[in-house]
């Protein structure tokens, strides 16, 4: 199948990969036929030949998000099939947190925010390998040699100027979404963007790849080898993003019933910042849900227990995008543009954007 896909996309050429990260492992998103596909592969004796990790599931690891029996059973069939194929079931959408990919190495990843993150901030090369292709590539050890696995295919095609100060998570997400919507495809070369923290980089990567087909941007001063990319650039489009563009996204918001942080999964610093704020101010009026990776969760387990008494629910291995638990809510406030895109489509729940501080204000309002 990898070769058949390669025939269609790269004249049959393939490229060996060091790691793989697969998506499509939540029972909620892949459903019964996705499970059957994984079980079919597993029962045929397939095993991965490189280090392979997996995306979040429909159920979190501590059982905070209660879902019905059918989902629990489907999820456990998925885990069993993946485990028998040798996949490291890490249930994270931020595998770059612990897989420190090096510049100019090849990978077969399938989670769009993660692909964009390593392409953009590490110059590690991965194309958007859809869930099944990343898994098939992990088994084969190679994937089709598509454009993003060649220097020529990574040539910047659009000049983007960002005239705003350091971008916090929400602003970084809006910038990613605006670039995505305005350019759509190609490789943006971004001048003037400064990301305030790790969470901002994650939100940018997630938004760019959610609002367009793009999974790579060159950020001047941040992307390794950016000078070489600038020399290669062949600009066909030119756009500017201003503070007014961002303001048009961040309107007055209606009152949510919950606040959600952690799409992509929140890093340790973000979780600790929120925990510190809540410890200072006391229990929130509305629940604050924070999804993080199992690795971060394990490090702060004692804090998780402590802040659960403050109405802050930290969980790992799942998120509100891929869990049907989300359907019990009416309006969710979040600083994630990716969550803002998918939650209404997948769960029919309204989502309003807010800066992290504003989101917390809403939790206390």
């Amino acid at each position: 199948m990898v070769l058949r896909i390669a025939d269609a996309v790269s004249g049959g050429e393939v490229v060996p990969v060091e790691t793989a990260h697969i998506s499509g492992v939540s029972y909620f998103t892949i459903g019964e036929y996705g499970v059957e596909f994984l079980e079919f592969l597993a029962s045929s004796g397939a095993r991965v030949s490189i280090f392979t990790t997996s995306n979040p599931a429909a159920i979190d690891l501590s059982g905070l998000l209660q879902v019905d029996e059918k989902v629990v059973e489907g999820q456990s069939r998925i885990s069993k099939a993946l485990r028998s194929m040798g996949v490291s079931i890490f249930y994270t959408c931020a595998p770059y947190e612990f897989i420190l990919t090096r510049p100019r190495t090849y990978h077969a990843w399938a989670e769009s925010n993660a692909i964009t993150y390593i392409n953009t901030f590490r110059d590690s090369w991965s194309d958007k390998n859809p869930g099944p292709l990343a898994l098939l590539g992990a088994i084969a050890g190679f994937v089709p040699k598509t454009a993003l696995y060649t220097l020529d295919g990574r040539r910047p095609t659009a000049a983007v100027e960002v005239n705003i100060g350091p971008l916090g998570p929400l602003e970084a997400g809006v910038v990613g979404a605006l670039i995505g919507e305005r350019i759509g495809s190609g490789v943006p070369y971004i001048k003037g963007a400064v990301f305030a923290d790790e969470e901002s980089r994650r939100e940018f990567a997630a938004a760019l790849s959610t609002y367009s087909a793009m999974v790579f941007a060159v950020v001047e001063g941040a992307t390794p080898n950016w000078r070489q990319y600038l020399e290669l650039a062949d600009f066909r489009d030119k756009i500017q993003i201003s503070a007014e563009d961002i303001a048009s996204y961040v309107r007055d918001v209606e009152t949510p019933d919950v606040v959600y942080i952690g799409c992509p999964f929140a890093d340790l610093e973000t979780v600790l910042q929120i925990v510190a704020e809540v410890r200072r101010r006391g229990p929130t009026k509305r629940p604050v849900y924070i999804s993080t990776s199992p690795g971060v969760y394990k490090q702060i387990q004692r804090l998780v227990e402590e802040v659960s008494g403050y109405n802050v629910k930290i969980f790992s291995g799942a998120c509100l995008v891929v869990s049907p638990y989300t359907r019990r809510f009416r309006v969710i406030a979040t600083d994630s543009l990716k969550a803002m895109f998918y939650i209404p489509k997948l769960h029919g729940v309204r989502v309003v954007p807010c800066r992290r501080e504003k989101c917390l204000e809403l939790a206390y309002a």
Binding site: A8, V9, G24, Y33, K128, N129, P132
Partner: protein
């Protein structure tokens, strides 16, 4: 003639459903009802610009195919890796090009077509 990307077999006559905005297979494609962005595409030829969004897309198209609700063929202006993987997995022929909303006779292997 359309450029074949994932070849199918045989000939078919079908109405073309044209979708003018990029779609996400996860979220926009309903595998139970065979609708894409709210439009019935089951057993029809779908013409679209390109797909965007979640990499879970191929399983959703595969799911639609298993339910007999997949399009007969997809014609995309810019087919990408995700759409190609989805079509290989789901067994849906894929062509590069553009079509208007009309009835066509098409050779699913070569992409040669004419009006009904």
């Amino acid at each position: 003639m359309l450029k074949p990307i994932v070849r199918g077999r045989g000939r078919a006559a079908s109405r073309v459903v044209k979708i003018t905005t990029p779609v996400s297979l996860l979220g926009d494609l309903d595998p139970e009802r065979g609708t894409l962005a709210g439009v019935d595409v089951s057993g029809k030829i779908v013409a679209l610009p390109y797909v965007k969004g979640s990499t879970v897309g191929p399983y959703v198209l595969w799911g639609a195919a298993r339910r007999g609700k997949a399009p007969l063929a997809i014609v995309a202006q810019k087919p990408d890796l995700m759409l190609i993987s989805a079509c290989v997995l789901a067994g849906v022929p894929l062509f590069q090009g553009d079509l208007e909303e009309e009835c066509i006779n098409i050779d699913l292997e070569s992409g040669v077509y004419d009006k009904c």
